[in-house]
Symmetry: C2
Subunit: 354 residues, 2 copies
């Protein structure tokens, strides 16, 4: 085992390595989170797409596989505002793609495929005594945060700007995950226009470190020991890596998606899949909507329109409409079991830091 | 003096520290380049806006101030294609801004305010026996490169993607400057659509290091010892810092611009000033053209329209149309003489790397 200096987060979370596997609601599994946790990193699980009545079962599934702390992640976005006219406009806009995949156009008003974090979640979460709970898109109301803390949880908030980091600490976050522009999947931006919140990891992390007193996690573009060592130099107390774990057999990733990651030099920020800015590999769906982002229904209503295309694309073995979240470091992907990858990352970083 | 490990570039260029002050044609001065060079870094001077008949004098001015190597930087863009109809469209689009600053609308067809690198430059440059010559926007023809190398110069090319880095090495570059998304001023992008070439420094540098055999300079978002140490961990042989040197009294920077850097949390990529993507602090001119980038005249013809607004803005003490290039690390700016700043940066990085 490589020797690691402790950081405020390795101590606080009882980790061997300051390496966090990102929650990635669409790709994370209990197996992935547990493999990382058991190997000395911090495993995470994204519950954003979990129906509330499945929450207890999924927590139990993780705990059957590990007795180490796991980071439970939730979305706490503002509920979307229905807009049937905009829905119709999107259906019209995507009609040629639906036709190309022999799909009938999406019917009825768009419905949110999953809810925002609520008291219903809290009622199940609190008795489970979570150790670490993280949120995307801001934080839930103060009394939720207080209840989670009273139950013994540390709270991680996700910031894409210094302003968001300061807001999160003021609203109860114990730890800030500073998510740079390079990151794959959804951007955590919640205070401002996404275009004013696209800051590279190398520029963002030291500014967040200077602005808050709590430990800071660096996320975005980190794929190997070089990125980990760099993040620690920037002042981060740990790194969070998502794309890097998409090469693990424990992750739930379409083979087409995994193949595209290796060549993934052209990633884009897009609202095409969910209605919220997220980074994925450029394809026909993303390009179709690139000039029409302002028309896209509120997060997560746009999933009503993108999901059938994603499913049909996967079925046909096409990447044209496949949701392929990827960070800008994707071509550095290595396919390894999670425990082996974690050890390799730790060795690489330790060698550079020695 | 802090102890520094040598890197392939400190050895090749005879530097005490692997720190390069970026050329910054609009802000660099002979005094800045010489101060950095004399203090043990690599000073640079951007000749992009220098008329050919002033080139010899400006080189002489630098050499009067230092006998250390200085990096001479040139633009080698494709000459712009005149388009009177597009010029008129831009004049119309900017009419309200011209009116706001009591300016008469720009007359006549747009003329390029400075030429691309050519044999005329080469004829003056070669007898001056330059040590290091760097280029933006690709490279000049092969025989220019060969002539410079035969005269003893090392060639630095600027890449914003892995593909560009490979292209530059194939076309004669000895060293690659990997310019991340965070960087202020012009992006070096020359092969593809800028939107497909916006990669954060932390993700870009290790991928470029893996793709080429030559030394790689990291640029973009580096403002202090933390950024320098991080870049070296990523595999860079040196760092290039532009914005960080805008706080030096030796730099040619409008006081309004310098003040804006300290608060510069909202920077944007824009073609509004020159016709080519560059990062600056958001203001009225940038916002006016944000949704009309496709209409903007070719680089550098757009300067015909932006320069009067920039000058009037400066005169009136307004930032509304002021050209304020800035990287995403701008708020970390420190105002110090260049030699003092360089020593401070070296100390900070050395302490982290110790």
């Amino acid at each position: 085992m490589p020797h690691w200096p402790t950081t405020p987060l390795t101590e606080r979370f009882g980790l061997r390595y300051p390496i966090i596997q990102a929650p990635m609601a669409s790709a994370a599994t209990a197996e992935l989170a547990a493999a990382v946790a058991n190997a000395g990193g911090l495993g995470s699980y994204g519950f954003a797409m979990t129906p509330v009545d499945r929450l207890a079962d999924e927590i139990a599934a993780i705990r059957r596989l590990t007795n180490q702390p796991v980071n439970f992640n939730f979305f706490c976005h503002a509920p979307p505002v229905p807009d049937p006219e905009r829905d119709q406009q999107m259906a019209d806009r995507l009609a040629p793609l639906y036709a190309a995949f022999d799909l009938s156009p999406p019917a009825g008003p768009a419905a949110a495929p999953y809810p925002t974090f609520s008291e219903a979640h809290l009622e199940i979460l609190l008795p489970a005594l979570p150790t670490i709970v993280s949120f995307q898109f801001g934080l839930p109301p103060r009394f939720h945060i207080e209840a989670l803390k009273a139950a013994g949880a540390f709270i991680i908030g996700t910031a894409t700007t210094v302003e968001e980091a300061v807001w999160l600490v003021e609203h109860g976050a114990d730890v800030i995950c500073a998510q740079g522009f390079e990151a794959g999947g959804h951007r955590g931006t919640f205070l401002r226009d996404p275009a004013a919140s696209e800051i590279g990891t190398l520029a963002l992390v030291p500014q967040v470190v200077d602005a808050v007193r709590c430990p800071v996690i660096a996320a975005g573009g980190i794929m190997d020991g070089r990125g980990i060592a760099a993040a620690l130099m920037l002042g981060a107390a740990a790194v969070q890596m998502g794309t890097a774990f998409l090469g693990c057999p424990e992750a739930k990733v379409q083979p087409l998606h995994r193949r595209a990651l290796h060549a993934g030099t052209d990633t884009r920020l897009t609202k095409a899949y969910s209605g919220r800015s997220a980074r994925g590999i450029a394809n026909r769906l993303i390009e179709t909507l690139a000039a029409h982002e302002a028309e896209i229904p509120d997060f997560p209503l746009q999933q009503h329109f993108s999901r059938p295309l994603n499913a049909a694309s996967a079925l046909r073995g096409s990447t044209e409409c496949l949701q392929m979240w990827a960070g800008q470091g994707a071509p550095l992907l290595r396919e390894r079991p999670a425990a082996e990858l974690l050890k390799m990352l730790a060795h690489e970083a330790a060698a550079l830091l020695a």
